[in-house]
Amino acid sequence: MKKLAVALALSLLSPLSLPSMALANDNVVEAELNIYSARKEVLIKPLLDKFSEQYNVKINLVTGKADALLARAKSEGQFSPVDIIITTDVGRLARAKSQSLTQPMTAMLPEFVTLKDQDNHWVALTTRNRPILINPLTVDSNTITSYEDLIKPIFKGRVCIRSSSNIYNQSLVAAMIIQKGEEQALAWSKGLVENFARRPKGGDRDQIKALVSGVCDVAVANTYYLAAMRNADEASQAIANQVKVIWPNQSDRGVHLNISGIAIAKHAKNIHAANLLIETMLQKEAQYWYANTNYEYPVDPSIEWSGTLKAMGTFKHESIDLNQVGELNAQALRIMDKAGWR
């Protein structure tokens, strides 16, 4: 019985006894790397394949919904094979950290990296913005310059936005709580619901289509979807080209910003390879790929944007503590519940 207790104690300690050595040396990386990714396979596999080839590391990948993958890592506990967690929003990274599913990374981060956890538990790979989109035929772009303008009476029955179950809307409201306070965020949400053209439905692309088909005149959506539509089939292009991007709040706090990011799992066994992958993802080649194949904004400012991104224009974005955005996610949802935003 005593031995069993010792074994149990040892089993609890074992992850701590793993060498958490500094920096990955190219020659000593492990042969395998296990990844849980909330980013879709097509949006990550090409980069991983390249990494695999370059460093002779076998990549094992499972994709899925972020929270489900976190729940899997949690129930697998200390024996979990996962080394790297990739997500498409900051809320999940903050949640992973607060559930003790991550550990500080030791990778050498480039100087331009500012969007990261203060304890180095996660780092942003790309940024995503959520501006206002209008149909320029029906809306004068001077009448709308901020998120606050969305609740003006002139836009009653003219606003399209997707469900509040969507994470991007949740972080939009969470960011508003930080910058304007809970009361104002609730008032804004209520005002927005008042101005809805229809019950929220569909994805971001559906809101863009609704703008053009005349269901509404103003919408909120991520640029990522608009850019993808502008590079898709002819029908999508025709729709997306009729829409104009309004970068809101340029004279004050800036457009809402979210990130896609990466973290090392708490019980990672292949720490060197994991740190190496993070370094690789922040290198020019990977950053260029994101900006040009995937229409996200690279975190490396020296990367030239693709034509599609340039055409949408430059902008000022929010500068707030992203961990806090993640922490306020639940509160944001409650506010949207109260406002009747379904």
């Binding site: 094992n60 499972v62 972020a66 489900a68 729940a71 469900s163 994805g203 949802l333 519940d337």
Partner: protein
């Protein structure tokens, strides 16, 4: 020693088998119900004040609507193809099962995409969801009702006809009441699937219990509360199923002879009197249902897939197809075997509790796949930990995860989720065989294995095949549990279709979607042929 052997002989082994399997299969549902150990009054208060009533209303309307819709379609179509001769009957008889291969969220995406091109019609309403789901879920009723109608005895018809009862009246007074257990079973399956659906309602922006579960989990990070909601859902389903069973507690539905081989000899349709529906109308009805539920969306998907397909991905597709097929096939064999074992345990065991236990074990069908997957992970994670501790104690090293993240976890989840589908079919089949058949064979000194192979198997063949097809297609379509539980580097067609669809790339999703449908068709065709 002799005492032990005697005890073993006296022991009701069927009870042990039934209870044992049920308990193992019930573990994930129990894990979900265990979430009630921590109740947060404040969170429930928030839900009650804001969204709960909307979740309930929409879920009840959706579930009832899909139940009625699929009952109407399933019963009407099954009645037509089993009772009448009309143009295309032989074709429709099996083709009407095809919509089963179409996942609800895919038909939803397809029609929305089609109507989007015109821009004047919005299918994304509660009514739209009910209609679309009924169109792909009616085969559950159809397949069971068809078996029930075609095995009803002709003597009833002869008797009714000789008393001057019209065919329409015969349907409502005799045929339908006798088929009631089968029809209700089909409806229950369709309703549970509608209740647990996430993809369609989330896309349509309809707040149901299921979207609420994910909202509380993903949005608020409250997994406990989400599990509690899912647990409430399961208990509700258990109550409804129990009520139905209770309401027919004094009824038994047996089949006393093997039905007449030639179904075309029909007392009613052979008489000179006019049928109450014209044959042409029946052909049109079948064709319209098949076209709307299957031909049109598949055609549209093929067009999109053709426009978008790249030859370079063909290798990847072949591996996706074989992954999906092998997984669905092996799982359906396993689940049908489990369902048979449990059905027999219920029949042979002297303990009446077995029935309740199996009912409980089959609850997984009503629980959203993602929540169920977490319910599967918890006991398996615990088991893995114990194994590792033990292993380390003996061999001084860890072996890592044995169950979590492997095919064992995935197949276990499928068993929990789809047992209900198979069980309803096998139970239904067995219930129609009179127990005195068993007694007769047993008095002749033959074993229970013989009863099964010589007597039951031929009588059960249709039910077993139906169970097999339904589970196969269900596994092929299954998404949420597969997504969470699958091993590294393992993808299925459903996963692929989902990844494109949630990235709002409907055109790219068309190829894997249409492949799911095509792979699903093969066993439907083969097995319906074998069933004849």
């Amino acid at each position: 020693m002799a005492v032990i052997i005697n005890k073993w002989r006296e022991l009701d082994r069927w009870f042990v088998v039934g209870a044992g399997l049920s308990v193992i299969l019930a573990l994930p549902v129990l894990a979900i119900l265990f979430s009630y150990s921590h109740l947060s009054a404040e969170l429930w208060r928030h839900l009650y004040d804001t969204t709960l009533s909307e979740y309930l209303t929409n879920s009840v309307l959706l579930t009832l609507g899909v139940g009625l819709g699929s009952m109407f379609l399933g019963v009407a179509l099954a009645w037509c193809v089993t009772q009448y001769t009309f143009w295309g009957r032989g074709f429709f008889e099996w083709a009407l099962l095809l919509p089963l291969a179409m996942p609800a969220y895919i038909i939803a995406y397809t029609y929305t995409g089609m109507f989007d091109q015109f821009g004047w019609f919005d299918s994304r309403t509660l009514l739209g969801a009910i209609v679309l789901m009924s169109l792909v879920l009616y085969p559950y009723v159809y397949i069971l009702a068809k078996t029930a109608f075609s095995s009803q005895q002709h003597t009833y018809q002869d008797a009714a006809a000789s008393l001057g009862v019209t065919h329409a009246r015969y349907f409502f007074k005799v045929a339908l009441p006798i088929a009631r257990p089968a029809v209700f079973t089909g409806m229950a399956l369709a309703m549970m699937e509608a209740l647990a659906d996430y993809g369609t309602v989330a896309y349509f922006g309809i707040s149901t219990f299921t979207t609420g579960i994910f909202r509380t989990w993903f949005g608020m990070g409250e997994m406990q509360l989400a599990s509690q909601l899912a647990g409430a859902l399961a208990v509700f389903v258990l109550l409804v199923l129990g009520l139905e069973k209770y309401s027919r507690r004094n009824m038994r539905f047996y089949q006393t002879q093997i039905p007449h081989q030639d179904m075309r000899v029909n007392t009613y349709t052979n008489t000179q009197s006019k049928p109450f529906l014209s044959p042409l109308l029946m052909s049109v009805f079948c064709l319209v249902v098949l076209a709307v539920a299957f031909i049109i969306p598949v055609f549209q998907l093929c067009i999109w897939a053709w426009e978008f397909a790249e030859v370079s991905v063909i290798d990847e597709y072949l591996s996706l197809v074989s992954n999906s097929f092998l997984l669905a096939f092996s799982t359906s064999v396993l689940i049908v075997a489990l369902a048979l074992l449990l059905s027999y345990a219920q029949r042979f065991s002297t303990h009446s509790q077995v029935s309740g236990l199996t009912q409980f074990a089959a609850l997984g069908y009503a629980i959203p796949g993602t929540v169920l997957a977490i319910g599967v992970l918890q006991p398996l994670g615990w088991l893995d930990e114990q194994i590792n501790v033990l292993w380390a104690f003996v061999f001084d090293e860890y072996i890592g995860l044995v169950f979590s993240g492997t095919f064992v976890a995935l197949m276990f989840a499928y068993c929990v989720r789809f047992l209900s589908v198979a069980l309803h079919n096998t139970q239904n089949g067995l219930e129609r065989i009179k127990p005195n058949v068993d007694d007769a064979v047993l008095t002749l000194g033959l074993g229970r294995l013989r009863i099964f192979s010589r007597i039951h198997l031929p009588l059960l063949k249709k039910s077993i095949l139906a169970a097999g097809i339904l589970v196969f297609v269900d596994v092929l379509k299954e998404l949420p549990a597969t997504l969470i539980l699958r091993p590294f580097n393992f993808n299925t067609l459903a996963v692929k279709a989902f990844e494109y669809a949630t990235d709002e790339r409907l055109l790219a999703a068309a190829l894997p979607s249409v492949t799911i449908v095509l792979v699903g068709i093969i066993p439907v065709i083969l097995l319906t042929r074998a069933m004849k």
